[in-house]
Symmetry: C2
Subunit: 140 residues, 2 copies
DNA sequence: TCCATATTTGTAATCATTACAATTATGTAT
DNA sequence: ATACATAATTGTAATGATTACAAATATGGA
């Protein structure tokens, strides 16, 4: 994925969102760091570039980006939300050992359905937990 | 499912858990209320029967029951944990309108696998969000 | 340039969860 | 039955993520 300020600008404009500096930087961070960061991870990094940024802005922006469909939000750990600029359909794996979250491509049989058993489906989340490949190799 | 104190007692004993009054009552509540209750829902109900019960006990017990594999734990809402005495493989649907959580039977293609792409899989969570059938009918 | 509005910021409040120490209950050996 | 070590429960305080809210700042259009 090509990440430049021009494309980020257009992304925001396409959703009628004013491309402010903070919003651009938050979206840029998500595109450059596709490791499902927490709000705090985003906030702490952006502090270096925008010393006046507030955590509230990060929260507000992420919530807004999610509502506009520009990012997705995971609750896989149970303790904090994590964000992903990749909004396509995919599953996630949380390693209990290293804490990393890995993207998984699993074909959900009802992924493309708008309705299932009479319920309208708007979001789909597939989470797996266990020990990742890398941690398994390290403990040998 | 037959819910009586005898079977609950045996369930706990089978996992080498001392069947105390609080533990029995918590497990009994989960078997009689299969609507994925929160800790607070369980606590508030149990207060009527056990006026001295502490919320910490409810937390401790649920965590322990989860580790023993006697209950499962959902983080579908993102704000609080919910518990389920049904530990078999199934998915969940959260209605954004009424807040109810509905069990769904969706065949996950990797549900029975111990490993996937080199990662050991211990838990599997499938969450869907949208508007449930009942709410759709009511708003017509 | 001015002004209404949108955005950002900082602080305080909320709420779920956890830490921890004190109290109470339990099983076992005597 | 009693005493004691251990397990379980309880209550309170602390933590940490998130939200509420009002003040300060920035922005686009007249």
């Amino acid at each position: 994925m090509i990440t430049n300020m021009e494309s980020i600008n257009n992304k925001l404009l396409s959703k009628n969102v004013r491309p402010t500096y903070q919003r651009m930087k938050i979206l840029e961070y998500l595109e450059k760091n596709q490791n499902h960061p927490t709000v705090d991870m985003i906030y702490r990094y952006l502090l270096k570039e925008i010393p006046t940024i507030s955590k509230t802005t990060v929260y507000n922006t992420l919530t807004m980006l999610f509502e506009k469909g520009l990012v997705s939000c995971l609750n896989i750990t149970g303790t904090e939300s994590r964000f992903d600029c990749y909004t396509g359909n995919h599953h996630h794996f949380l390693c209990e050992k290293c804490g990393n979250i890995i993207d998984l491509d699993v074909k959900c049989p009802i992924a493309d359905k708008k309705k299932f058993q009479g319920h309208v489906i708007k979001e789909l989340h597939g989470y797996f937990k266990g020990i990742c490949k890398k941690c398994l190799e390290n403990q040998k």
